[in-house]
Symmetry: C2
């Protein structure tokens, strides 16, 4: 099982640690999140609380959807609502990067999987890109 063995061997390489993962705070207003997501260009990022716990995911469409009005865009809503009001909370996470096979299965539908400890601390993410690099390597040997 060359594919499985290779994945297992590289397990710890797949984690992108929390300190280099862009995020916003659950209590930020939508205007702040709008600016962050417009500047950094990542399409979907983690939402944390002030103590570093994982709370959910946020993307620009979740925010711009709040701006849709009857005849014109509502900009005031961005100062009136918070990230916690619109973020996605039903998010599959893994406690560590050890079960590479289970994580691969999750990434069929999700471009990344947050790694969250049993006490809710955000540890980092595992992304499709890292797996794609491994498979590319495999096709060349």
């Amino acid at each position: 099982q060359p594919v499985k063995d290779m994945l297992m061997r590289n397990a710890n390489h797949y984690l992108i640690p929390a300190d280099i993962v862009a995020n916003v705070q659950a209590d930020n207003n939508l205007y702040h999140a709008f600016l962050v997501l417009t500047k950094i260009k990542y399409s979907r990022i983690p939402v944390l609380d002030n103590a570093g716990h994982f709370k959910g995911l946020i993307s620009l469409p979740m925010i711009t959807e709040q701006m849709l009005g009857f005849d014109q865009l509502n900009v005031d809503v961005l100062m009136e609502k918070r990230v916690s009001d619109v973020m996605e909370t039903a998010v599959k996470t893994v406690p560590n990067v050890d079960d590479v096979e289970a994580t691969l299965h999750m990434m069929i539908n999700d471009p990344f999987v947050p790694v969250v400890s049993d006490d809710g601390m955000f540890l980092g993410i595992v992304t499709r890109r890292e797996y794609m690099k491994s498979f590319n390597f495999l096709t060349h040997e």
Copy 2:
């Protein structure tokens, strides 16, 4: 080379045909594209001309960036500018799905690759999800 053989065998399964790929027209105004990208939730979609030729890619951040103003968001700009004013045009494409290995290599950095014929007609896209499904299958045998 089990990985390479499997990829070759499934080449034609990887193409998502043009008729089910969400897109906008190059001459649409940004307001229209803003609404489309807010509703459909795909983070980045192809831009076509009225004859079905591939012109570029568009995402919500490319549009919201135009709204950033001195002290408040500028909504009028969405009616004043067109998709062609902000879209990304330096896009790597492939003429067909035959070179599965080359396409896999491109998808290390791009979540999808547009398939565009030699005379510029948009034929569809190849996505990471399809490759992830194949690798998931490989790890289970």
